[in-house]
Amino acid sequence: MDIASYFNYWIVIVLMMLGFYIVIARGNLVKKLIGLNIFQTSVFILYISAGKVSDGAAPILTEGVSVYSNPLPHVLILTAIVVGIATTAVGLALVARIHEAYGTVEESQILEQDNAC
C-alpha cells in the first residue's frame, strides 16, 4: 500500500476540490465555467484510472498478450466528455447572451442591476 501508487487518485481529488472551489467562490461567470470544467475533468480521470489494469495492454486482440485494460470506463467517459463539451458550449452561449443583456459577466454587478429595477 504505497501512497505514490495512488498518484492518479490524488490528482483527481486535488482537481475536484480546485474545480468545485472555483465554481463556488468566483463571481465571474466565465471563471465559474472554467471551474466546472476542471471539476468534470477530474471525474474523467477517475473513470480512466479505474479502467487501467496493471501491466494490461490496450484492449486489442494480439498474440502473446493475455492481460488487457478494461475498455468500458474509457468508452463511458468518452460519452461524458461529449456531454461536458455540450454543457460548456451552452454555458458560454448563455454567458455571451448575459453579456449582451447586462454589459458585464460579474455576478455582483448583475445582481446590482437586477435589484435596481
Binding site: 463511458l76 460519452t79 448563455l94
Partner: protein, 498 residues
C-alpha cells in the same frame, strides 16, 4: 412492432427533434411536434396497460442481452412516470401554442419546439432505462435542453436563471456520475437489476456508501430538495409560461423517480445499514422544505414565483413519503407525484392564460382578473384547492395517504406538522383568491388587451379546464394513481426480499 414498444416513448421524440429542426415554418413544426408528443403519449399508455397485465417488460437495446447491453426495463412505476410526462408534454404543446407564439420571436419558434422535444426525450429516457450510465446520459440530454428552454424567457433575468440552473444542474449530474463510477468500480456492472443483486453483499463497503451518497446528493440537486432548491424559483419564474408548466409538472417528478429507483431498487434501502440515518435526513429535510417553501411563498409579490416556492414545499411532502420508508409511505409519495403534476399543471396553465392577457404574473397585475376571466380563474381556484388538499380534489387523496402512512409509523408530531403545512398552503392560496376576485383592477400593461370580459385563447383555456377537471376527477376516481402507485411500491419492496 409491439415487441419494440418499450423503446418507442424515448425514440419518437428523440428522432422527432432533428426532423422538427428541418421544418422552418413554425406552424408546421408545431403540428409535427404535437403529433410526436401524442404518439409518444399513446405509446406510453399502451406500455402502462401492458405492464399492468404482464408485469415487468424487458427490452434489450440493439439486441445485446443484459447485463452487457443496455436494458430498458418497464414496470408499473416507469409506466406511470412515462405516461405522466408524455401526457403533460402533449397537453402543453396542444394547448400552449398561443402562449409560445406570444413569448417567442417568430424565427425561434421551431427551435423552441426542438428543444422541447429533446427535453421530452431526455425525461422519457430517464424513466425508461434500466442502465445507470444510460440514465446519466438522458439526464444530461433533458438538462441541456431545459437550460435552453429556460433561457427563452422574455426577461433578461431568464438568462441568469438558466445560467444558475446550468451550474447547479451540472454539479448535480457530475455527482451522480461520480457515484455511478464508484459503484461500477466496486461491482463491474451498470445494469440496475444486476447492481441490485451484487450490492447487498457489499453493505459494509465504504465505497458503496460513498457512491450512494454522491448519487443521492446529485439527485436531490435535480429534485430541488431544500436546501438544494436555489435554482428552482428563478428558473420557474423567468422561463416562458409553457416551459414553467412543463418543468413544474414533470422535471422534478422524474428526479423523484430516480431517487426512488436508486434508493429502493438499486440500493435496497430497507435492508442496508444506511437506512436509518437516511430516513431521518429525508424526513427532516422534507418537513423543513414544506415550511420554508410555504412561508416564502406567502410573501412573494409575484404569483409565478410564489407557486415555484410552493413546488419546493410540495417536493418536501413527496420526500417525507419516501423517508417514511414503508410500502404505504412510498405509495403516498407516488400518488402525490402524480397528483402534484396535475395541480401545478392546472395552476401554471391557468396562470399562463392570465399572463397572456395581462403581461406578467405579479399580484398587482392580477387584481380583479377573476371578473374578466371567470373560467380561467375558476381553474386556478380548483388547482389551488387541490394544492391545499380540500376533500373532493386530487390533493386530498395524496395528503390522506401521506398522513395515514406517517400515522402508521406513529409519528404524531410529523402528522401535526404536515397538517400545519396545509394551513400555510391555504394562506397563500387565499391571497391568490383575494387578489383575483376581490381586488380592484389597475391599468393593464399589454396594450392590445381588450377591456371587459375576455377569456384566454381557446387552446390555453381548454387545457386549463381539462387539467382542473382532472384534479376533481382524480379526487373521486382514484384507481389509476393509487393502484399504479401501490403496485409499484409493492414491487419495489418485493424486489428487495431475499
Amino acid at each position: 412492432m409491439l415487441s419494440h414498444l418499450p423503446i418507442l416513448p424515448v425514440l419518437l421524440p428523440l428522432l422527432g427533434a432533428p426532423i422538427c429542426a428541418l421544418l422552418r415554418k413554425p406552424v408546421a413544426a408545431w403540428l409535427f411536434a404535437c403529433t410526436v408528443a401524442l404518439l409518444t403519449f399513446a405509446a406510453a399508455i399502451a406500455l402502462l396497460a401492458q405492464t399492468w397485465q404482464q408485469g415487468v417488460l424487458s427490452y434489450a437495446l440493439g439486441g445485446w442481452a443484459a447485463p452487457w447491453g443496455i436494458e430498458y426495463r418497464i414496470d408499473l412505476l416507469n409506466g406511470l412516470v412515462l405516461t405522466l410526462v408524455s401526457g403533460m408534454a402533449s397537453a402543453v404543446l396542444l394547448g400552449g401554442r398561443a402562449s409560445i407564439w406570444r413569448e417567442t420571436p417568430e424565427e425561434k419558434r421551431s427551435l423552441f419546439l426542438v428543444a422541447f422535444l429533446l427535453c421530452l426525450a431526455g425525461l422519457q429516457g430517464i424513466a425508461a432505462t434500466g442502465d445507470a450510465f444510460n440514465l446519466f446520459v438522458f439526464l444530461e440530454i433533458s438538462s441541456l435542453s431545459t437550460y435552453a428552454l429556460v433561457a427563452t424567457g422574455r426577461d433578461r433575468r431568464a438568462l441568469v436563471a438558466a445560467y444558475n440552473y446550468l451550474i447547479m444542474g451540472t454539479i448535480g449530474a457530475t455527482f451522480i456520475l461520480i457515484g455511478i463510477g464508484f459503484i461500477y468500480m466496486l461491482t463491474g456492472t451498470l445494469n440496475m437489476m444486476d447492481l441490485a443483486q451484487r450490492l447487498p453483499a457489499l453493505t459494509e463497503s465504504r465505497t458503496a456508501f460513498a457512491g450512494f451518497v454522491f448519487i443521492i446528493v446529485g439527485v436531490c440537486l435535480k429534485l430541488a430538495l431544500f436546501p438544494l432548491h436555489l435554482w428552482l424559483p428563478g428558473a420557474y419564474t423567468h422561463a416562458s409560461s409553457m416551459v414553467t408548466v412543463f418543468l413544474a409538472a414533470t422535471a422534478t417528478k422524474v428526479a423523484l423517480y430516480v431517487l426512488i429507483r436508486f434508493s429502493f431498487s438499486v440500493f435496497r434501502l430497507e435492508f442496508s445499514t444506511l437506512a436509518l440515518p437516511l430516513e431521518t435526513v429525508f424526513l427532516t429535510l422534507g418537513i423543513v422544505a414544506v415550511f420554508a417553501g410555504s412561508l416564502v411563498a406567502i410573501y412573494q409579490p409575484d404569483l409565478k414565483r410564489g407557486l415555484a416556492y410552493s413546488s419546493v414545499a410540495q417536493i418536501g411532502y413527496m420526500v417525507i413519503g419516501v423517508g417514511v420508508g414503508t410500502v404505504i409511505g412510498l405509495q403516498a409519495a407516488l400518488v402525490h407525484l402524480f397528483n402534484h403534476a396535475l395541480m401545478k399543471g392546472a395552476l401554471f396553465m391557468a396562470l399562463a392564460a392570465v399572463v397572456y392577457r395581462v403581461g406578467d404574473g405579479k399580484f398587482s397585475s392580477l387584481r380583479g382578473i377573476g371578473r374578466e376571466m371567470p373560467l380561467t380563474c375558476a381553474c386556478m381556484l380548483l388547482g389551488g384547492l387541490s394544492l391545499i388538499g380540500v376533500p373532493g380534489t386530487a390533493g386530498f387523496i395524496s395528503k390522506w395517504y401521506l398522513v395515514v402512512a406517517v400515522a402508521d409509523r406513529e409519528q404524531w408530531v410529523l402528522v401535526a406538522l404536515i397538517l400545519a403545512g396545509s394551513l400555510l398552503t391555504a394562506v397563500y392560496i387565499w391571497r391568490l383568491v383575494e387578489t383575483v376576485y376581490l381586488g380592484v383592477p389597475g391599468p393593464r400593461q399589454v396594450p392590445d388587451s381588450p377591456a371587459g370580459r375576455a377569456e384566454a385563447p381557446p387552446g390555453l383555456l381548454a387545457v386549463s379546464v381539462v387539467l382542473a377537471l382532472a384534479n376533481v376527477y382524480f379526487g373521486f376516481d382514484t384507481r389509476l394513481p393509487v393502484e399504479a402507485a401501490s403496485g409499484a411500491a409493492e414491487s419495489l419492496f418485493a424486489a428487495g426480499q431475499p
